[in-house]
Amino acid sequence: MTGKGMDIEKLLEWLKKYDLTELTVRDGKFLVTLKKESHAAPFPRQPLLGIDESGGSLASSARASEGGAVGLPAVPAETAGWHEVKAPLVGTFYRAPSPDAEPFVEEGDRVDINDKLCIVEAMKIMNEIESPVRGIVREICPGNKDTVEFGQVLFRIEERE
């Protein structure tokens, strides 16, 4: 069997048809490997703070001491073009300036550049996070009081004039 001239679609068909998890096509110098990506990642995935970028909180992703693999929630496809506002530091996420106050923003709200979005509290210091873009808040990812890690997505904003 030679890999030359054999198109991938053909191989993909075989994969599906025969329910293969791996298909290797070899010809002298070259090797083509087709794998069905299983749910198990190459390394047993454990939920990490921050790998889950769709808004998982620390509370929800704290893992058992020797817990098993957990699937990661998929990012909805339509979010692809939205602007992501990420946590610039580790801390606790607050949607409002005080427990009794209204949230800074809700999903669907229109925001302008430098509008306040939330507070991330770290070591008793309240860090206000402002919007870097103009648009509509499509998603507020962490829950109120969730812990967020560096780089975790806090908001998804559809940019609009």
Partner: protein, 455 residues
């Protein structure tokens, strides 16, 4: 009781600490930079928090995010490993301020031992031998000569503002002294704008021997014998062993007693290391500095004593009394550690990055591997190049060397160049077999063998 420990470090030492914590039934939190998301320690920890971008200053040294991660995850203790924040007294205090146990000595002990001049003075007061020399700046060539006569030649004259060998003069005899003094003063003034020089006894090609100590918060302190760390390249240790092949039992015991006295003098309450230089000609030794943290080479001590130093470190940080007595600490056999770095010895030890396309670790009797990597792992370019430590134990030093040779041969790493071939050369060298090597071994012997880079 520590219930959840945050590890403010990365790589093999983070894995090592997770192992100790897990065996103690303590939950673990890893903190990691964006470059370390796929690292072994992140996978092995119970929880993991990203604390910043790859540069250490913005992640592993950025204590604000580390403390925030500890508070957020409910960690009640932080282990700093080695390097990074491990000898930062301010960080130790910051932990204390937010009611988190710092797994290390008191901030006071870190501070005292962190300043070389203070440390040397304290050690002198505690009766620890230090390198003889002037107390401060030498005023004249005559004063230099009087001191040199007193402590004996060779001596070295160094600029107080100096560093890196500039303004440094080694003086072998009385006749050279005045000229050397004047030259050093002139060079110091020119190079640093400060004519101040001091004088010390010059120890030529010493051994680097360090004593492991362990103290608790209740005034107890013990030592766990010595490590010989004289195999160094540009002040980087490459290979360590315990016991030292050149110490006799009386010297070993004396150095141990002195190290314990040194630790007690600063109420030392954690694992630490008292470093000495050892003059093989005179069999005298001199305090150099104290490292107030767990060290890279701690496993060789664990191998000959059976004591788990990292577990003990966590326990004493938690306020437990040391259950070890000096008499109860015995040593058996011999241990050697080789640091396996992703470096190409043929390219002046240039650090390597790349993916470990094959990675087979040695095993079998008397072999221990402490690694931070796994097969298929991509080594990021931002950090230390050490990927693993290979430690062996043997009934005798000869057995340990044979075992290390065997284990190095089994260690297969593909995808990046490593120091494995370089270690194979070291352990086959007759001078290494004799055990009489000193800190100039790598430079001198490897050069004579056809260049440090040839292997």
């Amino acid at each position: 009781m520590i219930r959840k420990l945050l590890i403010a470090n990365r790589g093999e030492i983070a894995v090592r600490i997770i192992r100790a914590a897990r065996e103690l039934g303590i939950q673990t939190v890893a903190v990691f930079s964006e470059a370390d998301r796929e690292a072994l320690f992140v996978r092995y920890a119970d929880q993991a928090v990203c604390i910043g971008p790859p540069p250490p200053s913005e992640s592993y040294l950025f204590y604000q995010n580390i403390l925030a991660a500890a508070k957020s995850t409910g960690a009640d203790a932080i282990h700093p490993g080695y390097g990074f924040l491990s000898e930062n007294a301010f960080f130790a205090e910051a932990c204390r301020a937010v009611h988190i146990i710092f797994v290390g000595p008191s901030p006071q002990a870190i501070r005292k031992m962190g300043d070389k001049a203070t440390a040397k003075r304290l050690m002198k007061e505690a009766g620890v031998p230090t390198v003889p020399g002037s107390e401060g700046v030498l005023e004249s060539a005559a004063a230099a000569r009087r001191l040199a006569d007193e402590i004996g030649y060779p001596v070295v004259i160094k600029a107080t503002a100096g560093g890196g060998g500039r303004g440094m003069r080694i003086v072998h005899g009385k006749k050279e002294l005045e000229g050397a003094f004047n030259a050093a003063v002139g060079e110091a003034r020119q190079a640093f704008g400060d004519a101040g020089v001091y004088l010390e006894k010059f120890i030529e090609n010493p051994k680097h021997i360090e004593i492991q100590v362990l103290g608790d918060k209740h005034g107890q302190a013990v030592h766990l014998f010595e490590r010989d760390c004289s195999i160094q390249r540009r002040y980087q240790k490459l290979l360590e062993e315990a016991p030292s092949p050149v110490l006799d039992d009386d010297t070993r015991a004396a150095m141990g007693r002195i190290a314990v006295a040194a630790a007690r003098s600063v109420s030392y309450d954690s694992v630490g290391t008292i470093e000495f230089i050892y003059d093989m000609r005179t069999q005298r030794y001199y305090f150099i500095e104290m490292n107030t943290r767990i060290q890279v080479e701690h496993p060789v001590t664990e191998m000959i004593t059976g004591v788990d130093l990292v577990k003990r470190q966590i326990q004493v940080a938690d306020g437990e009394r040391l259950s070890l007595t000096q008499e109860g600490i015995a040593r058996t056999g011999h241990a050697i550690e080789c640091r396996i770095n992703a470096e190409d010895a043929r390219q002046d030890f240039l650090p390597q990055t790349g993916t470990l396309s094959q990675y087979i670790v040695p095993g079998g009797p008397g072999v221990r591997v402490d690694a931070g990597v796994y097969p298929g792992y991509a080594i990021p370019p931002f950090y230390d190049s050490m990927i693993a430590k290979l430690i062996v134990w043997g009934e005798t030093r000869k057995d340990a060397i044979a075992r290390m040779r065997r284990a190095l041969g089994e260690f297969i790493v593909e995808g990046v160049a490593t120091t494995i071939p370089f270690h194979q050369r070291i352990i086959q060298h007759p001078e290494f077999h004799q055990g009489t090597y000193t800190t100039d071994f790598i430079r001198r012997v490897m050069a004579a063998d056809g260049g440090e880079n040839a292997c």
